[in-house]
Amino acid sequence: MKYESVWEGPGERLPLVDNHDSLGSVTKEVLRAAEVPKPPIGWFIGLGVASTLASCFGLLIGYLIFTGVGVWGNQNPVMWGFPIVNFVFWVGIGHAGTLISAILFLFRQKWRTAINRFAEAMTIFAVICAGTFPGIHVGRVWLAYWLFPIPNQMEMWPQFRSPLLWDVFAVSTYFTVSLLFWYLGMVPDLATMRDRANTKLKAFAYGFFSLGWRGSTRHWHRYERAYLLLAALATPLVLSVHSVVSFDFAVSQLPGWHTTIFPPYFVAGAVFGGFAMVVTLAVPARQIWGLKNFITMRHLENMNKIILLTGSIVGYAYSMEFFIAWYSQAPYEGFVFINRATGQHAWAYWIMIFCNVVSPQLFWFRKCRTSIPIMMFVVMCVNVGMWFERFVIVLSLEQDFLPASWAYFTPSWVDWAMMLCSFGLFFTLFLLFIRFLPVIAIAEIKTVMPQGDPHDPLGGADHHHDHGSAEGGQE
């Protein structure tokens, strides 16, 4: 029964795992990426490119620290240039992971199981990339610990009224909880890898990190309790983190930034960009590592539906900003938005509108939602568009209150190189993850197969007491 159809009649659902008759073959197939003695050449090439870029990122950071933040294009009046654009972009990407792992889990959306593991991994790697930028933007990086309220002889504290400090707490909490969630969910699978290890080192490493998991009922009981609690804990974070990130702008009293729509609009944008990145990664990953039976077209289609929804929310927010600027009759607010659409950076604004608002509209059509080339086109647009969204927002600094200081922001080569190289860091981590960790939650995905359902004939339901549908039951 090999099909990639996505048709669902009333009351029926397509299987979440295709082409698997037993639970054991699932383990084997998922772990192939980590267990093949020699990964495909594409992996080596990818890792080579990505790790080179990641190393360049390190060198660039060294250059920045050694020379000073003047190597960036940040210049009066645009003091927040690429660093904050990249920060918000990467933090946003990180949102899909928690949404999938926490919110979809609490809503019992079973289709999340195939994609949650690597969406969570993506979250963690994206937050690492994000955290780098404010970390190096402080100028004197050796004093970056001043971000935290540590008792000190100077009796100097961070400014608790500043959203930049709230950001420190929001992002570090988010990172910690995401990491715990990711790791906790992985423990049973790590134990599986431990038991299948073919070298001593692997057996020890996976054994160490699986914390002595034996799969007893008590283990499972505690595991599921802990997972549920963490999911509940992580749920508010999905909303809070990007709300706080939006406060960086919304709390400052600048036209175009000081609006109440920012938190919900940023959260929707983050989920939008995050899901686009999940699809961006999932499509090649399922192709290269043969995971099509787990990440089926149904999964991709569901994600595309979320992209359509959140993309439309973002589009609504863009238009509402204009409406409020007109409705409030505040001349400065009005100027900012007219200037965004027609001013010197209008090209960036229209790229953003096309990528974030126009291109996802293709997903109204099932044909487009289930076509790999079209969905890749759309999610690539969204990746670009969401970067430009932050660029457009930050660049309203170009026209500040003093027309004499108006300027045209020009990024330096270091700005561009750092943005590019942060992708190198991201993909290095991701490729290493694919090679060394279980990319799909093996234990969890088995529970959404009929073989894992005790009420299903395939899962061992007693066909004598069954209501006549035990044909083909596996005994």
């Binding site: 008792p151 000190n152 100077m154 009796e155 100097m156 431990r194 054994g207």
Partner: protein, 221 residues
């Protein structure tokens, strides 16, 4: 099943209570070490370098009652508190104890013109700005920062001189205020009820419009 099987050894059961104990106590330990070990109270207070001449503040400023400003004569007009030139010593020592072997280096300096290499005790970092005159003229006594120098044989650093310590007074200056005519009277104590003392300080604050800055740029210019 793989060929190798990793099982935690039995002693690893001890790791859990060990880790919990470590997790519970280490932060306390770290805070203690940082708060006390790295504090200027530990690293700086009590610094008493050896001076080229065993000059006794206890004798000159204490017993003989020479005013601080006789030697450190710039404190009322300048940011810097001057270290006296040999001339200031010789004002008296040209006549008093002029043959004492203890002041041989002073006479030598006087004859050759080579200044005496006093060792600085109270040394603020170069990135912090401090102005003596603005403090002394508005009733902050020498004793607030330097301690009872009139009782010290050799001068040591009495206070932390840390940023937090400066801020302590900038946030609540009143207890350190007195009539500017009393600033060099290191032994002075307010004579009266606690309530009167509070009023006295408040009045001085009002009189001299004392509103110390807590801006970074006040000291880091």
């Amino acid at each position: 099943m793989g060929r190798y099987h990793y099982v935690f050894p039995k002693w690893s059961n001890l790791l859990l209570p060990g880790a919990l104990l470590f997790g519970a106590t280490f932060p306390l330990y770290a805070i203690y070490v940082v708060a006390y070990g790295f504090s200027p109270a530990t690293t700086d207070v009590g610094y008493m370098p050896k001076q080229p001449i065993p000059y006794s503040h206890a004798l000159h400023a204490g017993e003989l009652g020479i005013d601080c400003r006789y030697c450190h004569n710039t404190v009322e007009d300048a940011a810097h508190a001057a270290i006296p030139p040999t001339q200031t010593c010789m004002n008296c020592h040209a006549h008093i104890k002029k043959d004492s072997p203890l002041i041989q280096p002073v006479r030598e300096s006087w004859e050759t013109g080579e200044p005496i290499r006093w060792v600085r005790v109270h040394d603020l970092p170069d990135y912090s700005y401090f102005n003596h005159s603005v403090h002394v003229n508005r009733g902050v006594s020498c004793v607030s920062c330097h301690g009872r120098v009139d009782l010290m044989e050799e001068v040591w650093q009495e206070e932390k001189l840390s940023m937090g310590w400066c801020l302590e007074c900038h946030r609540n200056p009143e207890p350190h205020l007195r009539d500017p005519s009393l600033v060099t009277n290191l032994a002075w104590k307010f004579d009266g009820e606690a309530k009167e003392e509070t009023e006295y300080h408040a009045k001085l604050r009002d009189q001299f419009a004392i509103n110390p800055s807590q801006d970074c740029s006040a000291c880091h210019r």
